[in-house]
Amino acid sequence: MRLRYTAQTALMTALVFMAVPVAAEDVLLTLTGAVTDGRVEMTRADFDTMDWHEFSTSTSVTDGRPEFRGVLMRDVLAHAGAEGSSVRATALNDYVVDIPVEDFHRFDVLAALYMDDVPLTPRDKGPVWIVYPRDNHGVLADIRYDMRWVWQLVALHVQ
């Protein structure tokens, strides 16, 4: 029984990888609003030119403390020349939430592309997952911040 389950998981993971090959030129994140020229599209190559960070944290939807790797949200905004006090984050499934830019300066909020060294894909929580350092600040263990952990992030509108 367990053997079957493990085989199944391996098969599924393989399928996921085959299904969504991420090309370097594919646009992962689109920034609009108060950014350079009103629109900035970021590909994996753009992410690679930036400083990468990683930390482990518990989340409200997984067990344990997965390790996340990606770039800081404030670096993403700086890269796009964003000038505003709030961003409206939109996910693949049209989930929309407003996040104060202040969050990204108070905390090291990550635009994560990897969880436990596995690249995030649209079949999981990719391409980008906004991750707060929940374990380092007591105030973050709260539903009001949990709402801002946008997964499958594809667009940021700066205002």
Partner: protein, 445 residues
């Protein structure tokens, strides 16, 4: 009995303090637990999470039936897989297991992955699978909803229970606190009444002492009056006897005037004694109010000397030497009271020194007083005798037979003090005694 009662009270007190603190600690702990449970966990949002999965299943079904672009179908497929993956993750899976819908969902997900359009699966088979999934999710949604509300209600119950316990602990602590307050108030009351009793006893003791002193003074005064009245009365009696005893012929006028003078002096002594007793009594009742005015002490001294000479037929005016005074000696005093003092001091000087010895009287200014000094050349007094001289009823040793009340000096000093002055006795250089009256200077003069 008291010791046992006291220990019992302390036990009560300690017990109540312990109960009070214990209950408060319990309430604090319950509040901390309450605070921890008051957070909203993300798994409590399962109705929404499950609803999103339903919507994504419907979206994919829609895209398939509309025969949308393959890219769009792929995206919808990916999102639906991600929703089902999310439901497989730890906290969500446990919630669904508890709700009894976990096992079937896992099967739906693997079935879906086997029909991945990116792998060129049959769209018709995928559509049939998704349609069946939509129907399955619809029936499970109500199970999820009822389980969520069930768990929410259970959590609220436990919060309410904790809240009630904390409330009861606080109420218990308040009752124990009231008991403590009652005990403390009782102790305070006992303490106060104890202090009051003590004060009352002290006052009683001091009243008794004063009463005893007064009784003693009265007794001594009665003795004194009896003794001192006897001599003048005997003198008068003897004089009368002399005048009436003569049988042969009329009484010569010289004898009458002589006996009259002797009798008058005896009467004067009686009057003086009565005056002194009255004055002492008034002083004791604080009934003497000095009326202070500016008076030349030198003039007062002169008039007192004149009076003394006038009332005693056998006194030699030459015995008293008043030194000539040039500087002003204006004192702030009551003339009646001051005359009484001076008269007392002068009588003493005349009485307690040999009849042929001089008494010097001088009045002068010191730095802030006017002083009248009366110096006799009598036997004088030892320092120990001077120390007792102002005591009531004190008579100098060897003078018990001389007329005197033992009140004169006491009265003199008391009268001087109520005028802001004083009377002192010192040994005179070359023998005898110096009595001095100090009175405040009149500032205006």
């Amino acid at each position: 009995m008291t010791g046992t009662g006291g220990r019992a009270r302390y036990l009560w007190l300690g017990g109540l303090v312990a109960i009070c603190l214990g209950l408060l600690a319990l309430a604090a702990w319950q509040l901390v637990v309450l605070e921890r449970q008051m957070r909203i966990a993300a798994t409590e949002n399962m109705i929404w999470v499950f609803g999103q999965t339903q919507i994504e299943a419907l979206n994919l079904a829609l895209a398939l039936s509309d025969e949308a672009a393959p890219q769009q179908i792929q995206t919808r497929f990916d999102i639906l897989v991600s929703r089902l993956t999310l439901l497989e993750d730890g906290p969500q899976r446990r919630f669904l297991e508890n709700a009894g819908v976990s096992e079937t969902l896992a099967r739906w997900r693997s079935g879906l992955l086997a029909l991945d359009p990116a792998q060129g699966a049959d769209p018709a088979a995928l559509r049939a699978h998704v349609t069946a999934l939509v129907a399955a999710l619809r029936t499970k949604a109500s199970l999820v909803m009822s389980h969520e509300w069930q768990s929410q209600a259970t959590r609220l119950d436990s919060l309410r229970h904790l809240h009630l316990l904390a409330l009861m602990s606080v109420l218990g602590a308040a009752v124990a606190g009231l008991g403590l307050v009652a005990i403390l108030i009782d102790r305070e009351r006992r303490l106060m009444s104890g202090q009051l009793d003590h004060l009352r006893a002290e006052k009683l003791a001091s009243d008794l002492e004063r009463e005893r002193e007064t009784a003693e003074n009265h007794r001594r005064f009665a003795d004194l009056i009896a003794h001192q009245f006897r001599t003048p009365l005997a003198v008068i009696d003897s004089a009368m006897h002399r005048l009436t005893r003569r049988s042969g012929g009329p009484v010569p006028p010289e004898l009458i005037s002589e006996k009259a003078a002797v009798s008058r002096e005896a009467v004067a002594r009686l009057v003086k004694l009565t005056d002194t007793a009255l004055m002492m009594s008034r002083l004791e009742r604080d009934a003497v109010l000095p009326s202070l005015r500016a008076h030349d002490l030198n003039d007062l001294v002169s008039s007192v000397i004149d009076d003394l000479m006038a009332t005693a037929w056998d006194r030699d005016p030459a015995r008293i030497r008043q030194s000539v005074q040039t500087e002003p000696t204006v004192a702030l005093c009551d003339p009646m009271l001051t005359a009484e003092i001076l008269s007392n001091l002068l009588r003493n000087a005349l009485l307690y020194s040999p009849p042929d010895c001089r008494v010097d009287v001088s009045v002068f200014q010191s730095r802030d007083c006017i002083v009248c000094r009366i110096e006799d050349r009598g036997r004088g007094m030892s320092p120990e005798e001077i120390e007792c001289a102002f005591d009531r009823f004190y008579r100098g040793s060897g003078h018990e037979t001389l007329p005197g009340s033992g009140l004169g000096l006491t009265l003199a000093r008391d009268l001087a003090r109520i005028q802001g002055g004083d009377v002192t006795l010192t040994q005179r250089d070359g023998g005898g005694l110096t009595a001095a009256l100090y009175l405040p200077k009149d500032d205006v003069a």
